[in-house]
């Protein structure tokens, strides 16, 4: 690779040809201000905050989209550059609703940080904000265009990564907006509620719908028995909220914090992840041996379900009929758990902590009811849990580690890896192999389905039975596999799809600044958890075995079908949340 020598603020830098000024500056500890730039996205160069002075050029150059050349001399901190950068920030701020103290992103807002850095004070710009009405009619996301700085990161996530194309631009000039086509609310679009837009938004223009107040109320309600489940991906990300190194495993502190918050019982979604494998693994075996629609596709990711129900509804038969681990937990909490504790299901309040914004919608689906009550009462994202812990004044980092409660506190390594792309596939293969062959797996790890490549595939030899499988994360990648099915060319028996890039550890509800680097660290942490666990196969989970013995009977049995399986609907462009909310 050709190397290029240049000077940034009189410091010599050598970087590969094709590097931008912004990236080259990072190498010498110069952080050029930026808003539309995102390390995982294509260069957009529309905010213009990153302009710098390049010797020999009349205009200032955007550092994010200007490539280095031999002998280039860049100044990032001259009076002219600072004045221009500051002026652009002032322009952005003047059309940005400055209710910072009440904003969910306060303290974690890139615009706020830059305004602080540039010491922005009162200007005489006109601060009348022109915006669309607040879009808060869906259960997952709130869009506030009064805060939108039109950086286009969300559009990039929605169109290029997820290929959902719910978000786009409308109008031009001062009426330019980032919005769904015809400025419809999200609920009347093909939006899948994955929340990837909220994960990349530099400000508070798209945020998760905050449900913490209702959970606080439930905890305070003496008539309610409030239980909580925590998804596998949360424990490797929650530490970000408390400035711990990325990828820190904070399971023990997390359980301790949940106990301090006042939850009556703290359970592990890894348990129902194992249960999902029992059901889904057996469903796969049944489809393979007795005939059924192949390839079978996983159904754990609600953003993915929203996607296929919206755009590929003719392929719904390919979905596993298994509910997601969240909903399996919810169903058991309002049936088995009610039975063994003697608590009326109506008095059990089930909370989920999820890395996901679409889970909020999934919990509200009308079919997700058991014993006449909604299976999951409230879903909090990792971010919301972090805020609850901060709000309670808990010194998270110093907490003594605590453990999950029984009977839903035991999860195997197979359940743990559900949080990473390829994890459900690997967990299923571990179990399917042993169930089909009756032999012990020679090697537990299926490395072919691991990693951050968009589509992964491998062939597994199950005692002579060649099983071709594929894993996709990010809906753009999933779409490719669906098109293959459509054209009758899919060679696979089983496909895992997770809506978000990286899988659940990269979910739309995870702490802000989940870049691909951070996701890789979380994935490492997840596999670390797996390796450290004594049990690493779902069918060896003693609590799952006990559940089948005492309550469910056998996988795919009558009770399982009633509680743990579901069916899917074609939805067109409308979710019709109003109807859902009134139920």
């Amino acid at each position: 690779m050709n190397m290029v020598n240049l000077k940034i603020d009189n410091i010599n830098v050598t970087v590969p040809d094709g590097t931008t000024i912004l990236e080259a500056a990072k190498k010498v500890n110069v952080n050029i201000p930026h808003l539309c730039y995102h390390p995982d996205q294509a260069v957009k160069a529309n905010c213009r905050v990153c302009v710098v002075d390049v010797a020999g050029s009349k205009k200032l150059a955007p550092a994010c989209s200007s490539y280095v050349y031999e002998g280039m001399e860049v100044q990032t901190n001259t009076k002219k550059v600072r004045d221009m950068q500051k002026g652009i920030l002032e322009l952005i701020l003047a059309n940005h609703d400055q209710d910072c103290l009440k904003c969910l992103r306060s303290g974690n807002c890139e615009l706020q940080a830059l305004c602080q850095r540039f010491n922005i004070s009162k200007t005489n710009l006109d601060e009348t904000i022109e915006a669309l009405p607040l879009d808060n009619t869906n259960p997952s996301l709130v869009r506030d265009t009064a805060k939108c700085i039109k950086c286009d990161r969300c559009v990039e996530a929605c169109q290029k990564v997820q290929e959902v194309h719910a978000l786009t631009h409308s109008h031009r000039s001062v009426h330019y907006n980032v919005a769904p086509a015809y400025e419809m609310p999200l609920e009347q679009t093909f939006c899948v509620l994955c929340g990837q837009c909220s994960a990349v938004c530099p400000v508070g223009a798209i945020v998760e719908k905050d449900d913490t107040a209702m959970v606080w109320d439930a905890i305070q309600d003496p008539k309610k028995h409030v239980i909580v489940q925590v998804a596998p991906a949360v424990r490797v990300a929650l530490g970000d909220m408390f400035n711990l190194p990325k990828g820190s495993i904070v399971t023990g502190q997390m359980v301790a914090a949940l106990r301090r918050l006042g939850f009556d019982k703290i359970f592990d979604t890894n348990f129902t992840a194992d249960l999902t494998i029992m059901e889904e693994g057996n469903e796969l075996i049944q489809r393979l041996t007795k005939g059924g629609t192949l390839p079978m596709i996983t159904s754990c990711s609600p953003g993915w379900i929203n996607f296929i129900e919206g755009r590929y509804d003719h392929l719904l038969d390919h979905l596993s009929s298994c509910k997601s681990p969240q909903q399996m937990f919810g169903a058991l909490s309002k049936s088995y758990y009610a039975d063994i504790t003697g608590i009326d299901p109506k008095d059990i309040y089930t909370v989920s902590i999820m890395p996901c914004t679409a889970k909020k919608f999934e919990a509200k689906r009308p079919e997700m009811k058991t014993n006449g009550v909604q299976e999951v009462d409230a879903v909090l994202t990792t971010r919301e849990l972090g805020r609850m812990i901060q709000s309670a004044g808990i010194d998270f980092v110093g907490l003594e580690e605590d453990q999950f409660d029984n009977p839903f506190g035991i999860g195997t390594g197979a359940g743990a890896i559900f949080g990473a792309t390829g994890g459900v596939m690997e967990a299923a293969l571990r179990t399917a192999y042993e169930v089909i062959t009756g032999k012990e797996l020679p090697a537990l790890e299926f490395k072919g389905v691991r990693g951050l490549e968009g589509i992964k595939e491998c062939t597994v030899d199950i005692d002579g039975l060649e099983l071709k499988v594929a894993v996709a994360h990010g809906l753009g990648n999933a779409k490719k596999l669906l098109k293959q099915i459509d054209s009758g060319e899919s060679p696979y028996a089983f496909i895992e799809v997770m809506a978000c890039p990286g899988g659940c550890i990269g979910g739309g509800g995870q702490p802000i600044k989940s870049t691909m680097d951070v996701k890789a660290k979380r994935i490492d942490a997840i596999y670390h958890i797996d390796e450290d666990l004594p049990l690493r196969k779902s069918h060896e989970n003693p609590a799952v075995k006990e559940l089948y013995e005492k309550f469910l009977g056998a996988p795919l049995g009558h009770k399982s079908h009633e509680l743990l399986h579901t069916h899917y609907h074609s939805r067109g462009m409308k979710y019709n949340f109003k109807e859902l909310m009134n139920k």
Binding site: N124, D126, H171, S173
Partner: protein, 418 residues
């Protein structure tokens, strides 16, 4: 009127623009014939000698542009004729199309031959939809007679021409935006690099030339470059079609040799200001151009002389404003235009225009705030230094030059008295 010349416009009124036979009868297609007998390099040398600076407004040397386009590797290239002509006070391209569509097509074929392109696209501004049938008819007739299409005039060279219109946005005159528009996307400029000469329309190497530029190319290839550069000055050789409008007695499109003074243009060609009014200012090159006061009216109309006065040729628009208009009202009309036409993509242009428009409104109403002038100037400079594309860079040209030449119009006390 004798100060005008007739080189690019020589065919105007001489033939029926709906009839290829009529065009042939006045020596049509000699340019293509001459070009096909030359090598690409020969034509580039001729273009360089003619010193034709891009007539859309950016004034990039055509010979150089062609030379770069020819050297870009690729066996599938595109030539685009930019007929968007969105610049207010600019209508010379329309004049060329209306009067001499076949020469324009000749220019495209020559450009295609020179750079090695197989396809040409005419991007016609949506407001010129009444010219669609005229152009399409010319293309069809040329196809029939073998001047466009496969094996042009029996040669190995094949070149097809397609006609496109956008939805009517000023910014689509910008090369990369125009390409986005042809591709069916909304009209917003593309990030550079990649440059369109390497990766333009449908990701193919693309050459974009203005209507007038292509017409000159055809005229030069027909008559020889010496016939062209005998006009004008050594620095700015040749002729230019200007669009003269505003407060003049005889508005219209005129072909002039470079080097006439603005006085000659406004008074001798334009017939002067009507009704005995006095010249206040003129704006050159359309709404994105700079304004000049009456005191510099003896400046020769050449690239170098105008540059000395801080002015540009731009699109060739010459807008004359007399003393019935207040400077600030004129600035407001320009600001209104840009607030309508900004694409909204980048912060400086979207938000800068929003803020400056409000300040200009206060000046118009006679109640500016104490800091308004400084604020407007500051953000106008931010726009010209930091905007994404040429639209934002030049949107405040009128304001900034108005402040420079007419400071009293922005004086707080004077404004308040008025």
């Amino acid at each position: 009127m004798s100060k005008t010349v007739s080189f690019i416009t020589e065919n105007f009124g001489k033939y029926d623009p709906y009839s290829i036979d009529s065009y042939l009868s006045i020596g049509g297609f000699t340019a293509i014939k001459n070009a096909l007998a030359m090598s690409s390099n020969d034509i580039i040398e001729i273009a360089k000698k003619a010193v034709v600076k891009g007539r859309g407004g950016a004034a990039y040397d055509t010979g150089r542009k062609w030379s770069q386009a020819a050297s870009v590797p690729g066996d599938n290239k595109v030539v685009i004729c930019n007929a968007d002509e969105g610049e207010p006070c600019t209508f010379k391209d329309r004049n060329v199309i209306e009067n001499d569509p076949f020469r324009l097509l000749e220019g495209m074929v020559i450009a295609g031959y020179t750079v090695g392109a197989q396809n040409g696209y005419i991007y016609l501004r949506e407001e010129y939809r009444h010219l669609r049938s005229l152009i399409q008819n010319a293309i069809d007739q040329c196809m029939e007679k073998g001047y466009v299409g496969d094996n042009i005039m029996g040669s190995d060279f094949s070149f097809h021409i397609h006609l496109y219109s956008g939805a009517g946005a000023y910014v689509c005159g910008e090369g990369s935006t125009l390409i986005e528009s042809i591709e069916g996307k909304s009209g917003r400029p593309r990030i550079k690099p990649p440059f369109i000469k390497e990766c333009g329309l449908f990701l193919l190497p693309t050459l974009v030339n203005n209507v007038e530029t292509l017409a000159i190319a055809a005229a030069v290839l027909q008559h020889g470059v010496d016939e062209y550069i005998k006009y004008g000055t050594p620095e700015s050789p040749g002729t230019k079609i200007i669009s003269l409008a505003g407060n003049v007695k005889n508005p219209g499109a005129y072909e002039i040799p470079f080097g006439l003074t603005l006085r000659e243009i406004i008074y001798d060609i334009g017939g002067g200001i009507p009704d005995g009014h006095n010249l206040l200012l003129f704006q050159l090159g359309g709404a994105s151009g700079k304004i000049g006061p009456a005191s510099i009216i003896d400046t020769p109309y050449t690239y170098a002389d105008l540059a000395k006065q801080g002015l540009v040729v731009g699109s060739g628009g010459v807008l004359v404003v007399d003393d019935r208009t207040r400077v600030i009202d004129f600035v407001k009309s320009i600001q209104d235009f840009f607030i309508h036409e900004s694409c909204g993509k980048c912060t400086p242009c979207r938000e800068g225009n929003r803020q400056i428009a409000k300040i200009i409104d206060r000046f118009v109403a006679g109640n500016p705030k104490p800091d308004d002038l400084n604020t407007a100037e500051r953000f106008a400079n931010i726009m010209s230094n930091c905007a994404f594309c040429g639209l934002g860079e030049t949107a405040q040209s009128a304001l900034l030059t108005a402040i420079k030449h007419f400071p009293q119009e922005f004086d707080l006390e004077e404004v308040a008295v008025k």
